[in-house]
Structure formats: structure tokens, C-alpha cells
Amino acid sequence: MSFNRRLFLELAVGSSAALAAPLVMGKAKPRVVVIGGGAGGATAARYIAKDSKGAIDVTLVEPSRMYYSCFFSNLVLGGVRTMNSIAHSYGKLASAYGINVVHDWAVGIDRDTKTVTLASGHKLSYDRLILSPGIDFVDGAVAGWDVTKQNKMPHAYKAGSQTELLKAQIEAMPKGGVFAMVAPPNPYRCPPGPYERVSMVAHLLKQKNPTAKIIVADPKANFSKEALFREAWSKHYPRMVEWIGPDFGGGKVAVDVDAMTISLDGQATKVDVCNVIPAMKAGRICELAGVNEGNWAPVSGHTMQSRKDKNVYVLGDATNQGDMPKSGFSANSQAKVAAMSVRAELTGSRMFPAKFSNTCWSMVATDDGIKVGASYEATDEKIKSVGGFISKTGESAELRKATFNESLGWYDGIVADIFG
């Protein structure tokens, strides 16, 4: 067989084109730095690494070595799940997807030089930056409380040691004691979360301390899945839960960690456990990056790019995006749109119209699950709801059990989707 000149030329052109593709970017490999290894950040890192097949260098910055999911942490409080069952390591992201997982705090971002500074002093350069830091608490949101007091009055709104602490406190309550919750104002992480928590605390107390009481001080006149939660409380935990809305002082709350009191409209009540869930804002790194407007980071719904800087993406709870609730499901959904956009920009892969969805399941008692969900599309202004559903009051026990079982399947599904 003689030398085939045409074949040679084709091979030569083909291989030089393959070599040239990344060089178009001006450097060996485009770099993506993701800050925050939760439902948004870890999903984005995994999808970019997986779908770019090594063409993009992905670094994930996350201070914790173990991720405890906020979703299902209320079930830990209720004694339905163990801490172990909501703990997930970052090992597979490193070993199976080649992501550089750095356990450190990001303490500074320079958007002009495109560098991230870590607490260790190291600097990371990026071509695209993804911020998915979750939430922090607004200073002074609840009079008498700040994060230095979280040991006495836990928020347990970032899962982990706080969850274990709150559980221990509930279990140590005296017979007939009082559990108080200070519920947060809108907008906040996981809209049904505080009320699922009330249900799960009641579930535990019903078995261990049935004469105990739960009071909820709430600055909101109504809350997520309210009719469903109220139905569950009166059905499963009659006379145990007292909800105090803004008309009766639920919005003017002060606490005293030394006296263990909670004051509504100036009237102090002694309590045994006080779960303070303060007003929230975007994780602090968003402020440091200068991508916030007020407490949250505005983003484009088409791509999840920051409205302040096209090289920066923001995901999940930290964003101001429109109609989606702040939830792990939402963050996971947004991460996939962001991952697609980042790959399209850095490697020229295909871009499809953004689609988002969210479903929030809540467990209200044994084998009793409820859900609310919606799907979303991007407009130029915001991420817009295009239809949803909610469980109904009076549903059969069979259907509620099926809904609960569905939530178990979802948990394993989303965890596999986040961490591989």
C-alpha cells in the first residue's frame, strides 16, 4: 500500500486542530473555580468535569471535609434518620471526576485579576468563577442573639454539629418542657424547613416527652404549605404546637441566652430549648466579591451569570433570581444550567434553553409526607414559574406514604447527582 498523501494531510490537519482548540483560549486549559461544595457548587463542579471530559480544569473550594445535607437534617432531629445517613464525602469528586478539591476558606476575590485568595494564603486563578456559598445570618436580626450564642440557642440551619447540638438539647428537655422556635422572615433557605422541623420535633417529643410544648414565633402572616402543616399538627400532635404570628408579637422577638427566655412584644417566657433561625443573606463571599445587591446576588436566569460580572456565576440560596425557592433542589437544578453555560463559553459545547425545577418534600409524621413543586423557565428579567402543584389536605394515608417513599428515593437520587 503506497503512502496516501491525502490521508496524511487529513490526519495532520485533524491533529493540529485538536491541539489548537484549547490554545484558542490562550492557555493550556481553561480553569473554573467553584466556591462552596453544597447542592449547587458540587453539582456544578461535577457536571463541568464530567461533561468536559478533562478539557476544563475544575477546582472546588470547600472548608468542610464532610458535607451534612440540610435536607433531611430535620429527620435527624425527629430520630428518623442518623447523622451518618446525611453525611457525604468529597472523595468521589476527586477520584472519579478529577476535581481538585481544596479544603480551605475563600477569603478574597479580585475580579479584575480573576484570582481567589484562600485563608491559607494561596491564590487560585480562574477563567470562570462559580459562587455557591449558601447563606449567612443578618447581624442583629434577632435581639439578644448572634452567632457567638449559637451554642446556647442553636440555629441548626447549617447542618452538622448544630443539628446534633439541637437534638441533644431537645432530648434533654425536662418533662413537660417548652421548645421555642424563632422562625425567619422571607426570603430564607428552605421555605417549609422550619415547619417540617416543628413536625419532627413534635414527632420526637410525642414519644419521649408527650406533655412538652412547642411554641413558634413567626414574623410571617402565613408560611409554606401552611394548611398541610396545620392539618398534620392537629392530627398527629394535638395541642402540642402553638404558632404565634405577627399579630400576636411573633415578629417582635428578643431572646436572652443566659435567662433562657424569649420575649414577644416585651413579654418574657422561660423556655428549655430555643431554636433561633435568624434572617438570612447570601454567604459572605458574595459580599467580598462585590456581586450583591442588598443581601443577595442578582443573576441572569438564562445562565446563572452574575448581573455584575459575566465571568462570575452564582448559584442557589445566595442568589436573587426570581421565583425559585431557596432549596437544595433549586441549587442543584441551577447548577446544571450554569455548568452548561460555562462549558459552552470555554469549550464551545452546545447551549440549550435553561429549564429549572424544584420539589420540596416534607415529612410531617411516620409515613406521612407532603410535597410542593414547580417548574421554571428563564426570561430576561428573572426565572419565572411556569406551573406547579401542592399536596392536598385530607389525602389518604396510602398516598401520603407513597409521597414519603418518593422523598426517600429523591434523597438518594440528588445525593448521587451532587457527589457522584
Binding site: 457536571y47 437544578s333 446544571k336 452546545r350 425545577s357 428515593g409 434523597y411 438518594d412 437520587g413 447527582d417
Partner: protein
Amino acid sequence: MRWLSFLLFMGLMTSGAKANEFGDAKLGAKVYEQCVACHQIGKGATDTVGPALNGVFGRQVGSVKGYAYSDGLVRLGKNGMTWTFDALDAYIANPRALVSQTRMGFAGLADEKARANLLAYLRQFSASPANIPEAPPTGTAHTPKLSPEILALKGDRAFGEYLASECVTCHQATGKSTGGVPPIVGWPAKQFVLAMHAYKQKLRPNPVMQMMASRLADEEIAALAAYFAAP
């Protein structure tokens, strides 16, 4: 009388997790609604996501020609296992306990009575062990009417892969299944299209799936089907 006490005796001997053999086929038809997403039975039943269930009693496990079983089921059949009443009862009670690698995405039915009723229903469609004539089809209760054009759509697999990223939040990409979320990996494309349109037309009940399907265009459903058939 002796016959009855013998049965009672046998029932006591084999009690525990086993269903009573004499279930109510009429009630069983209702239980069977949990199966129709994947199985057809009765006149004209064909293999879909799962194999058709006509004649399942007494059949060698994993032996329907042309149906792609999991290795686990094929192995059991080759080892001589047949679908007796007891085997079916155990399988329906907890599929993965009997066949750990089965692809049947059914969590199991713990209620003995419901299993007995279901088996009584299924038995009507088997010549063996009881010679009962076949009844009219029931497996198509949730099948939507679709135009040939929709069924003929060729899905864009890459688009399907992107759209699938929404599905795998709940339905695991590996095809593994836990809790109440069934596996969807490896479904025949046609069945996938029928199922999604059934949700879109609200013929299937789950509100999450109705919502997800409601905003999928015909091309998008075809794209998803193309992707999940062979991801």
C-alpha cells in the same frame, strides 16, 4: 371439612411472610394498577418495560423470548427455577431480596392480603397451574393515544442528555433505584414516550411527573427517550 382443615393446617405451617393463596381477584385487579406502568397482561399483551405476564405461573424464570432480562433472573431460570405461587409471592414481597440485581423497579408489597389478591388476579391469565381462560386486556389503562408522527419522532440524543440532567435529580443516572422513585435507565424508547405522554395527558397520577411532562414538547420527550434508552 377435612380439606378445609388441611388448608388451615398448611396455612399455619407456612404462615409468616407468605400470602394466603386464596385472594380476591377483583381486589387484585386494583392492586395490579401499581404494575401497569411496566407490565401488560391479558389478550394482546406484549413485552414493554417488563415482560408480559400472561402464563407467568409455572413459567421458567427469565424465559420470555426476546425480552432482555437482568443476568440475575436469567441465571435463576437456568438453574431450574420456575414461577410458582411461592416464588412469585416472595418476589413481589421484596424483589431485590429474591433477585438482588433485578431491574424491576418495584419496592415490594409488604401487605400479605394485597399480594394474595394480586396473585389471584394474575393467576387468571395463566393456564398453569389453574386452567382459566384469558380475560380482556387491562395493561393499557394508562396508555395515551398518540399520532404516528409523534411516535415516529427521532430524538436528539445530545439534547436528551441535557434534558436528562433534570430527571437524574430523582431517578439515578446509574439505573439504581431506592425508595419510591423507579429506575428509568434502559427503558425502550417507545415505552418511555408513551409513559411521558401519559403524564402529560394526566393519565398517570403522580403530580411531580405531570408537572415535569407538562412543559416538555414532543421533540423533547423524544430526545429524552433516545437518551435514556442507551445513556
